[in-house]
Protein backbone atom coordinates (compact mmCIF):
# COMPACT_ATOMS: atom_id res chain seq x y z
CA UNK A 1 0.00 0.00 0.00
CA UNK A 2 1.31 3.44 -0.87
CA UNK A 3 0.83 6.01 1.84
CA UNK A 4 1.00 9.73 1.29
CA UNK A 5 3.81 11.60 3.01
CA UNK A 6 5.81 8.51 3.73
CA UNK A 7 9.46 8.99 4.52
CA UNK A 8 12.26 7.03 2.96
CA UNK A 9 15.80 6.05 3.96
CA UNK A 10 17.36 4.63 7.12
CA UNK A 11 15.90 4.49 10.58
CA UNK A 12 16.75 7.81 12.25
CA UNK A 13 18.01 8.08 15.83
CA UNK A 14 16.67 10.59 18.32
CA UNK A 15 17.76 11.68 21.76
CA UNK A 16 15.04 12.75 24.20
CA UNK A 17 15.55 13.06 27.96
CA UNK A 18 19.15 11.96 27.33
CA UNK A 19 17.97 8.60 26.00
CA UNK A 20 18.96 7.57 22.47
CA UNK A 21 16.43 5.56 20.51
CA UNK A 22 15.41 4.85 16.96
CA UNK A 23 12.01 4.72 15.34
CA UNK A 24 10.60 3.12 12.22
CA UNK A 25 7.85 5.71 11.93
CA UNK A 26 5.91 5.95 8.71
CA UNK A 27 5.19 9.63 8.16
CA UNK A 28 7.42 12.59 7.36
CA UNK A 29 5.35 14.66 9.76
CA UNK A 30 6.99 12.83 12.70
CA UNK A 31 10.44 13.54 11.29
CA UNK A 32 9.70 17.25 10.98
CA UNK A 33 8.41 17.59 14.52
CA UNK A 34 11.31 15.61 15.99
CA UNK A 35 13.98 17.56 14.12
CA UNK A 36 15.38 19.27 17.25
CA UNK A 37 15.91 15.85 18.81
CA UNK A 38 17.63 14.14 15.87
CA UNK A 39 20.76 12.38 17.11
CA UNK A 40 23.80 12.00 14.87
CA UNK A 41 26.17 10.63 17.53
CA UNK A 42 27.62 7.15 17.81
CA UNK A 43 25.78 5.88 20.91
CA UNK A 44 23.74 2.78 20.28
CA UNK A 45 19.98 3.24 20.64
CA UNK A 46 18.47 1.93 23.89
CA UNK A 47 15.35 0.79 22.07
CA UNK A 48 13.39 1.05 18.86
CA UNK A 49 9.91 2.52 18.78
CA UNK A 50 8.28 0.29 16.29
CA UNK A 51 5.09 1.51 14.70
CA UNK A 52 2.72 0.03 12.14
CA UNK A 53 -0.37 1.29 10.33
CA UNK A 54 -2.28 -1.04 12.62
CA UNK A 55 -0.98 0.93 15.63
CA UNK A 56 -2.17 4.11 13.94
CA UNK A 57 -5.65 2.62 13.57
CA UNK A 58 -5.65 1.57 17.24
CA UNK A 59 -4.62 5.06 18.27
CA UNK A 60 -7.73 6.40 16.54
CA UNK A 61 -9.81 4.30 18.93
CA UNK A 62 -8.15 6.03 21.88
CA UNK A 63 -9.02 9.49 20.56
CA UNK A 64 -12.20 8.50 18.81
CA UNK A 65 -13.80 11.90 19.35
CA UNK A 66 -11.20 13.68 17.21
CA UNK A 67 -10.68 13.51 13.52
CA UNK A 68 -7.04 14.05 12.63
CA UNK A 69 -4.80 12.97 9.76
CA UNK A 70 -3.08 9.59 10.20
CA UNK A 71 0.29 11.24 10.75
CA UNK A 72 -1.02 12.99 13.87
CA UNK A 73 -2.20 9.68 15.26
CA UNK A 74 1.20 8.19 14.55
CA UNK A 75 2.82 11.04 16.44
CA UNK A 76 0.63 10.53 19.50
CA UNK A 77 1.09 6.75 19.33
CA UNK A 78 4.87 7.19 19.27
CA UNK A 79 4.59 9.34 22.34
CA UNK A 80 2.68 6.67 24.21
CA UNK A 81 5.28 4.06 23.23
CA UNK A 82 8.13 6.38 24.19
CA UNK A 83 6.53 6.88 27.58
CA UNK A 84 6.33 3.13 28.16
CA UNK A 85 10.03 2.68 27.35
CA UNK A 86 11.11 5.65 29.47
CA UNK A 87 9.03 4.51 32.43
CA UNK A 88 10.04 0.86 32.14
CA UNK A 89 13.79 1.37 31.90
CA UNK A 90 14.83 4.97 32.46
CA UNK A 91 13.05 6.35 35.56
CA UNK A 92 11.35 8.94 33.41
CA UNK A 93 7.79 9.79 32.50
CA UNK A 94 5.90 12.08 30.23
CA UNK A 95 4.07 14.62 32.36
CA UNK A 96 1.13 16.67 31.07
CA UNK A 97 1.79 20.24 32.14
CA UNK A 98 3.41 23.52 31.20
CA UNK A 99 7.08 23.58 32.20
CA UNK A 100 9.28 26.67 32.21
CA UNK A 101 12.75 27.65 33.35
CA UNK A 102 13.65 30.86 35.20
CA UNK A 103 17.12 31.52 36.66
CA UNK A 104 18.11 27.90 36.11
CA UNK A 105 15.15 26.56 38.09
CA UNK A 106 12.44 24.38 36.58
CA UNK A 107 8.77 24.99 37.32
CA UNK A 108 5.80 22.98 36.19
CA UNK A 109 2.10 23.84 36.27
CA UNK A 110 -0.20 20.88 36.12
CA UNK A 111 -4.00 20.56 35.88
CA UNK A 112 -6.61 18.91 33.69
CA UNK A 113 -6.82 20.16 30.10
CA UNK A 114 -8.61 23.46 29.78
CA UNK A 115 -7.81 24.76 33.28
CA UNK A 116 -5.30 27.30 32.04
CA UNK A 117 -1.78 25.92 32.48
CA UNK A 118 -0.53 27.40 29.22
CA UNK A 119 -2.34 30.65 29.92
CA UNK A 120 -0.67 30.98 33.29
CA UNK A 121 2.75 30.16 31.83
CA UNK A 122 2.13 32.83 29.16
CA UNK A 123 1.41 35.34 31.96
CA UNK A 124 4.75 34.42 33.55
CA UNK A 125 6.31 35.10 30.17
CA UNK A 126 4.67 38.54 30.07
CA UNK A 127 5.88 39.22 33.59
CA UNK A 128 9.43 37.94 33.17
CA UNK A 129 10.18 38.42 29.46
CA UNK A 130 13.36 36.75 28.21
CA UNK A 131 14.28 35.59 31.71
CA UNK A 132 11.82 32.77 31.07
CA UNK A 133 12.45 29.84 28.75
CA UNK A 134 9.83 27.32 27.83
CA UNK A 135 10.96 23.77 28.54
CA UNK A 136 7.71 22.42 27.12
CA UNK A 137 4.25 23.96 27.19
CA UNK A 138 2.35 20.68 27.10
CA UNK A 139 4.29 17.45 27.59
CA UNK A 140 7.71 17.77 29.19
CA UNK A 141 9.50 14.71 30.52
CA UNK A 142 10.22 14.28 34.20
CA UNK A 143 13.31 12.21 34.90
CA UNK A 144 15.30 11.09 37.91
CA UNK A 145 19.07 11.01 37.52
CA UNK A 146 21.41 10.24 40.42
CA UNK A 147 18.63 10.91 42.89
CA UNK A 148 17.75 14.32 41.42
CA UNK A 149 14.71 15.33 39.36
CA UNK A 150 14.93 17.10 36.01
CA UNK A 151 12.51 18.43 33.46
CA UNK A 152 13.41 17.77 29.84
CA UNK A 153 11.93 19.18 26.67
CA UNK A 154 10.19 16.85 24.24
CA UNK A 155 9.08 17.01 20.63
CA UNK A 156 5.44 17.06 21.72
CA UNK A 157 5.13 20.78 22.31
CA UNK A 158 1.37 21.31 22.32
CA UNK A 159 -0.86 23.54 20.27
CA UNK A 160 1.22 26.69 20.80
CA UNK A 161 4.40 24.84 19.81
CA UNK A 162 6.43 26.17 22.74
CA UNK A 163 9.39 24.24 24.01
CA UNK A 164 13.06 23.57 23.59
CA UNK A 165 15.57 20.78 23.83
CA UNK A 166 16.83 21.64 27.31
CA UNK A 167 17.27 20.02 30.72
CA UNK A 168 16.50 21.91 33.92
CA UNK A 169 16.45 20.77 37.57
CA UNK A 170 12.89 20.62 38.87
CA UNK A 171 12.42 23.22 41.60
CA UNK A 172 8.67 23.55 42.16
CA UNK A 173 5.43 21.99 41.02
CA UNK A 174 2.09 23.78 41.12
CA UNK A 175 -1.40 22.33 40.82
CA UNK A 176 -3.53 24.95 39.15
CA UNK A 177 -7.21 25.63 39.77
CA UNK A 178 -9.24 28.32 38.11
CA UNK A 179 -10.57 30.74 40.71
CA UNK A 180 -12.08 34.17 41.19
CA UNK A 181 -9.58 35.16 43.88
CA UNK A 182 -5.84 34.70 43.42
CA UNK A 183 -4.53 32.53 46.19
CA UNK A 184 -1.49 30.30 46.56
CA UNK A 185 -0.68 27.85 49.30
CA UNK A 186 1.61 24.96 50.05
CA UNK A 187 -0.05 21.94 48.46
CA UNK A 188 -1.10 18.91 50.42
CA UNK A 189 0.96 15.98 49.12
CA UNK A 190 -2.23 14.08 48.26
CA UNK A 191 -3.26 16.88 45.89
CA UNK A 192 0.03 16.58 44.04
CA UNK A 193 -0.04 12.76 44.01
CA UNK A 194 -3.53 12.75 42.53
CA UNK A 195 -2.67 15.46 39.99
CA UNK A 196 0.42 13.57 38.87
CA UNK A 197 -1.49 10.30 38.48
CA UNK A 198 -4.12 12.09 36.43
CA UNK A 199 -1.60 13.89 34.22
CA UNK A 200 0.63 10.93 33.35
CA UNK A 201 -0.05 7.88 31.20
CA UNK A 202 -1.39 4.84 33.04
CA UNK A 203 1.43 2.33 33.50
CA UNK A 204 1.01 -0.87 31.50
CA UNK A 205 3.32 -3.11 33.56
CA UNK A 206 4.01 -3.49 37.31
CA UNK A 207 7.56 -2.20 36.81
CA UNK A 208 6.24 0.97 35.16
CA UNK A 209 3.81 1.39 38.06
CA UNK A 210 6.61 1.08 40.62
CA UNK A 211 8.79 3.55 38.71
CA UNK A 212 5.94 6.05 38.28
CA UNK A 213 5.11 5.91 41.99
CA UNK A 214 8.83 6.24 42.72
CA UNK A 215 8.99 9.44 40.67
CA UNK A 216 5.90 10.81 42.41
CA UNK A 217 7.39 9.89 45.79
CA UNK A 218 10.57 11.75 44.85
CA UNK A 219 8.55 14.80 43.80
CA UNK A 220 6.53 15.06 47.01
CA UNK A 221 9.62 14.50 49.15
CA UNK A 222 12.15 16.71 47.40
CA UNK A 223 10.37 19.46 45.48
CA UNK A 224 8.36 22.49 46.58
CA UNK A 225 4.66 21.81 46.21
CA UNK A 226 2.06 24.50 45.61
CA UNK A 227 -1.61 24.82 44.85
CA UNK A 228 -2.79 27.95 43.08
CA UNK A 229 -6.25 29.37 42.55
CA UNK A 230 -5.99 32.01 39.86
CA UNK A 231 -7.77 34.17 37.34
CA UNK A 232 -6.21 35.33 34.09
CA UNK A 233 -4.27 38.39 35.21
CA UNK A 234 -0.69 39.54 35.51
CA UNK A 235 -1.31 39.88 39.28
CA UNK A 236 -1.95 36.15 39.43
CA UNK A 237 1.38 35.51 37.71
CA UNK A 238 3.19 37.92 40.03
CA UNK A 239 1.75 36.21 43.10
CA UNK A 240 2.66 32.72 41.92
CA UNK A 241 6.13 33.62 40.68
CA UNK A 242 7.10 35.58 43.81
CA UNK A 243 5.88 32.78 46.05
CA UNK A 244 7.20 29.84 44.07
CA UNK A 245 10.62 31.27 43.26
CA UNK A 246 11.24 32.00 46.95
CA UNK A 247 9.99 28.63 47.92
CA UNK A 248 7.80 30.30 50.53
CA UNK A 249 4.16 29.68 51.09
CA UNK A 250 1.39 32.03 52.11
CA UNK A 251 -0.50 29.79 54.42
CA UNK A 252 -4.00 30.85 55.31
Amino acid sequence: MKVKGVKGGDMPKYKIADVVFETNHIFEYTEKLCLDYLYMGKSAPSFCLSITLDDVEKEKQVYFDESLPDCAYEFSCLFRKLNEQLLENHLATVFHGSAVEVDGKGYIFTAPSGTGKSTHARLWRELLGDKLNYINDDKPILKEEDGKLYLYGSAWTGKHNLGSNIKVPLYAICKLNRGKVNKIKKADEKVIIEAMLNQTFKPTTPKQAINLMGLIDKVVKSVKLFELDCDISIEAAKLSFDTMSNGEENED
Binding site: E189, L197, K202, P203, T205, P206, Q208, A209, I216, D217
Partner: protein
Amino acid sequence: MKIKDGFVLREVGSNYLVIAVGKNAKDFNAMITLNEVGAFLFNKLTNEITFEGLVDALLGEYEVDRATAEKDVKAFIEKLQKGNLFD
Protein backbone atom coordinates in the same frame (compact mmCIF):
# COMPACT_ATOMS: atom_id res chain seq x y z
CA MET B 1 -9.25 -14.40 49.38
CA LYS B 2 -6.57 -12.80 47.25
CA ILE B 3 -6.01 -9.46 45.53
CA LYS B 4 -6.17 -9.60 41.73
CA ASP B 5 -2.94 -9.44 39.78
CA GLY B 6 -2.05 -6.04 38.43
CA PHE B 7 -2.46 -3.94 41.56
CA VAL B 8 0.82 -2.46 42.65
CA LEU B 9 1.66 -1.00 46.07
CA ARG B 10 4.44 1.42 46.87
CA GLU B 11 5.31 3.96 49.52
CA VAL B 12 4.61 7.45 48.16
CA GLY B 13 5.16 10.45 50.40
CA SER B 14 3.92 9.75 53.91
CA ASN B 15 1.52 6.99 52.84
CA TYR B 16 1.27 3.97 50.58
CA LEU B 17 -0.38 4.10 47.21
CA VAL B 18 -2.05 1.36 45.16
CA ILE B 19 -2.41 1.73 41.41
CA ALA B 20 -3.71 -0.63 38.77
CA VAL B 21 -1.95 -1.79 35.61
CA GLY B 22 -3.12 -3.64 32.53
CA LYS B 23 -6.78 -4.55 32.13
CA ASN B 24 -7.62 -3.61 35.74
CA ALA B 25 -6.64 -0.01 35.08
CA LYS B 26 -9.64 0.48 32.82
CA ASP B 27 -12.26 0.09 35.56
CA PHE B 28 -10.15 1.35 38.42
CA ASN B 29 -9.71 5.08 38.40
CA ALA B 30 -9.84 5.81 42.09
CA MET B 31 -6.55 6.05 43.86
CA ILE B 32 -6.23 3.99 47.01
CA THR B 33 -4.00 5.26 49.76
CA LEU B 34 -3.08 3.06 52.69
CA ASN B 35 -1.30 3.56 55.98
CA GLU B 36 1.46 1.26 57.19
CA VAL B 37 -0.97 -1.34 58.60
CA GLY B 38 -3.01 -1.24 55.40
CA ALA B 39 0.16 -1.82 53.39
CA PHE B 40 1.03 -4.77 55.64
CA LEU B 41 -2.40 -6.33 55.07
CA PHE B 42 -2.28 -5.58 51.34
CA ASN B 43 1.00 -7.47 51.02
CA LYS B 44 -0.48 -10.46 52.89
CA LEU B 45 -3.44 -10.40 50.50
CA THR B 46 -1.28 -10.72 47.41
CA ASN B 47 -1.26 -14.44 48.31
CA GLU B 48 -4.35 -16.47 49.13
CA ILE B 49 -5.24 -15.94 52.81
CA THR B 50 -8.32 -16.30 55.03
CA PHE B 51 -9.92 -13.69 57.28
CA GLU B 52 -8.55 -15.53 60.33
CA GLY B 53 -5.13 -15.75 58.70
CA LEU B 54 -5.09 -11.96 58.26
CA VAL B 55 -6.14 -11.34 61.86
CA ASP B 56 -3.41 -13.69 63.11
CA ALA B 57 -0.83 -12.02 60.92
CA LEU B 58 -1.84 -8.62 62.27
CA LEU B 59 -1.65 -9.88 65.86
CA GLY B 60 1.79 -11.31 65.16
CA GLU B 61 3.11 -8.01 63.83
CA TYR B 62 1.39 -5.31 65.87
CA GLU B 63 0.48 -4.92 69.53
CA VAL B 64 -3.26 -4.95 69.29
CA ASP B 65 -6.05 -7.00 70.89
CA ARG B 66 -7.98 -9.56 68.85
CA ALA B 67 -11.26 -7.64 68.82
CA THR B 68 -9.60 -4.51 67.41
CA ALA B 69 -7.62 -6.56 64.88
CA GLU B 70 -10.81 -8.25 63.65
CA LYS B 71 -12.57 -4.91 63.32
CA ASP B 72 -9.62 -3.38 61.43
CA VAL B 73 -9.26 -6.34 59.06
CA LYS B 74 -13.00 -6.30 58.34
CA ALA B 75 -12.93 -2.58 57.55
CA PHE B 76 -9.87 -3.04 55.37
CA ILE B 77 -11.42 -5.87 53.38
CA GLU B 78 -14.56 -3.82 52.82
CA LYS B 79 -12.42 -0.96 51.52
CA LEU B 80 -10.72 -3.24 49.01
CA GLN B 81 -14.02 -4.87 48.03
CA LYS B 82 -15.41 -1.44 47.26
CA GLY B 83 -12.45 -0.87 44.98
CA ASN B 84 -13.09 -4.25 43.31
CA LEU B 85 -9.60 -5.52 44.10
CA PHE B 86 -10.49 -9.14 44.79
CA ASP B 87 -10.70 -12.03 42.33
